[in-house]
């Protein structure tokens, strides 16, 4: 006779699921605007009346030691840290900009494991501490241009992706680099429910050509504003490619795989006419539904700040233009 005795771990799993279901319902209701006061007015004062939050746990960040890298940095006005960490597109934690900071507080990043595999001589696995200690960290102040036509200026802390790839020694046959975000529906409400996650097929995947990946501007970031990354910004490690639209800069990376074929990329799969593989910032090539000629720079000043500025080719990083001299940028958007 077979009697299934529930193990202790089963029970706790059920409890976790209940919590998740509760959280999912809350997310769906919120997205319907039922909690519009708290959803819309994401201000400290409005947060006080958000009775539904259960914020016992707060995601911890820690100071990082790093060197400045002025030659890679812009001296434009920084986007305040509070905005960088509260205005995020990270659909794994919900589709509205204020969802990630709210839903990612309990995200666990230690232990972590990120692998560099595929067409390399020397596959690597990095644990949480390795991510922070294997390479000297630099501060690079980059512009970030979102495909939705807003932008920020962010002081990242990290190391060039090239340093990591060189350590893994790409084979001659490697032409592309594929990236993958953590898949963990228990922790990521957007991966549990299509409604919360914006209809994306998870895990989120991205890709670069090998020469793009090896470019000195291409950064693996483990921090911002001198501290380890907040969960909603892609902790513990994320890609930053400043001349491409923000969705290329994949967050919470667990896998980097060198390949000989162009890897699939999430937004391109979802809407191939709207989002290409390259996604280079380009004021001359509009998104089918909106213009890319201008952007609104998010800094301070509120509603009346005159923050609309022209968008520059390659987001102002003209030094990458050489990578694309044989490419029709209109067709390869």
């Amino acid at each position: 006779m077979l009697i299934k005795v529930p193990k202790k771990s089963d029970i706790s799993e059920n409890m976790v699921t209940d919590q998740n279901v509760y959280q999912d319902r809350r997310n769906i209701l919120k997205s319907m605007g039922f909690f519009s006061a708290s959803a819309l007015l994401a201000s400290p004062s409005a947060k006080a009346i958000d009775w539904f939050s259960k914020k016992e746990k707060v995601f911890e960040t820690a100071p990082l030691t790093h060197n400045k890298a002025p030659s890679f940095s812009t001296d434009e006005t920084l986007t305040p840290e509070q905005k960088v960490i509260s205005h995020n597109n990270f659909y794994e934690f919900g589709t509205s900009k204020s969802d990630p900071i709210e839903n990612a507080q309990e995200f666990k990043v230690d232990p972590w494991s990120m692998t560099i595999e595929g067409l390399v001589e020397n596959p690597i696995t990095l644990g949480y501490d390795d991510l922070l200690s294997s390479f000297p960290l630099e501060e690079r102040i980059y512009r970030l241009r979102c495909v939705e036509a807003w932008s920020m200026v962010i002081p990242w802390n990290g190391f060039p992706l090239a340093s990591l790839l060189n350590k893994a020694k790409p084979l001659g046959s490697a032409k592309y680099v594929a990236f993958e975000t953590l898949y963990d529906p228990k922790q990521m409400p957007g991966q549990r429910s299509r409604f919360v996650g914006g209809g994306i097929d998870y895990p989120y995947v991205e890709g670069l050509r090998l020469d793009e990946a090896m470019h000195p501007l291409t950064l693996m970031s483990v921090g911002l504003y001198g501290k380890t990354l907040p969960a909603q910004n892609g902790a513990p490690i994320r890609l930053v490619v400043p001349w491409k639209y923000g969705f290329k800069s994949i967050k919470s990376v667990v896998k980097i795989k060198l390949t000989d074929r162009k890897p699939p990329t999430t937004w391109n799969i979802l809407a191939p006419r709207e989002y290409g593989f390259y996604a280079n910032v380009n004021p001359k090539v509009d998104h089918p539904r909106w213009s890319q000629a201008r952007e609104r720079r998010i800094t301070t000043g509120g509603l009346f700040s005159q923050n609309r500025i022209p968008t520059l080719p390659f987001n102002g990083y003209e030094e990458v233009a050489d990578l694309y001299k044989d490419l029709n940028l209109r067709r390869n958007y």
């Binding site: 769906i28 997205s31 319907m32 605007g33 519009s36 819309l40 007015l41 994401a42 201000s43 400290p44 004062s45 409005a46 905005k83 509260s86 205005h87 659909y91 589709t95 509205s96 900009k97 204020s98 939705e148 807003w150 409604f195 914006g198 209809g199 994306i200 979802l270 809407a271 539904r289 909106w290 213009s291 000629a293 201008r294 609104r296 998010i298 301070t300 000043g301 509120g302 509603l303 009346f304 005159q306 923050n307 609309r308």
Partner: protein, 203 residues
């Protein structure tokens, strides 16, 4: 509903429509409306306009169901506020999103289907607001009802505008489509009559 109660009800509607708008503008002006106050403002004014329009469409079926004929008296007010919010939405787009780059406005209205349908909806709401007085009702006679039936088309265009404006998070716009279709269904008899009439006119 007694006349006294009705007045209080209208006062409540005025407060309910105006206070959140003033509060939202205040928060946006001191940069306390999320990371990007312009986006929050566009969402708030757009959704609120849609909510108010749906409410105004609901008043007459509700009045019938609840046998509260006096409810009809707030329909115009709700409709006017729907237009008012839509106008603030449109002006916010020009003032804070485009920041007065007028050449972009024309291009957007022509080139971007979701803006085009939003603009047409706004024009419809505008003409309904202009003719919402008792006086126009009398002068226009039968034509008044025909004109005001365009509100259903406006509803559909707004639902279209909404679902076209999002990147991939279509849950909320789909819910609004369902709400709109429910409201249209509640007024099905009227729509039927209207469609029949149109057919007759065509024939």
């Amino acid at each position: 509903m007694s006349p006294g109660r009705l007045i209080w009800f209208k006062v409540l509607i005025h407060l309910g429509a105006l206070l959140p708008l003033i509060w939202t503008f205040y928060l946006a002006s001191i940069d306390q409306l999320g990371g990007d106050p312009v986006e929050s403002l566009l969402h708030f004014t757009g959704i609120s306009a849609f909510n108010l329009l749906l409410l105004s469409l609901l008043t007459s079926p509700l009045a019938k169901m609840l046998k509260q004929a006096a409810l009809i008296k707030v329909r115009r007010l709700l409709g006017l506020y729907a237009f008012f919010y839509a106008l603030v939405h449109f002006l916010s787009f020009i003032f804070f999103e485009l920041q007065f780059e007028w050449q972009f406005l024309i291009a957007e209205i022509i080139d971007r289907p979701y803006i085009t349908v939003g603009f047409v909806a706004l024009l419809i709401l505008f003409s309904l607001a202009l003719t919402s007085t008792r006086k126009s009702q009398i002068t226009l006679g039968k034509k008044w009802q025909a004109l005001h039936n365009w509100v259903y088309l406006a509803g559909i265009l707004i639902a279209l505008h909404y679902i076209w404006s999002v990147k991939s998070d279509i849950l909320q716009p789909v819910i609004y489509w369902v709400l709109l279709l429910l409201v249209l269904f509640m007024r099905k008899d009227k729509l039927d009559r209207w469609l029949k009439k149109r057919k007759k006119n065509l024939a």
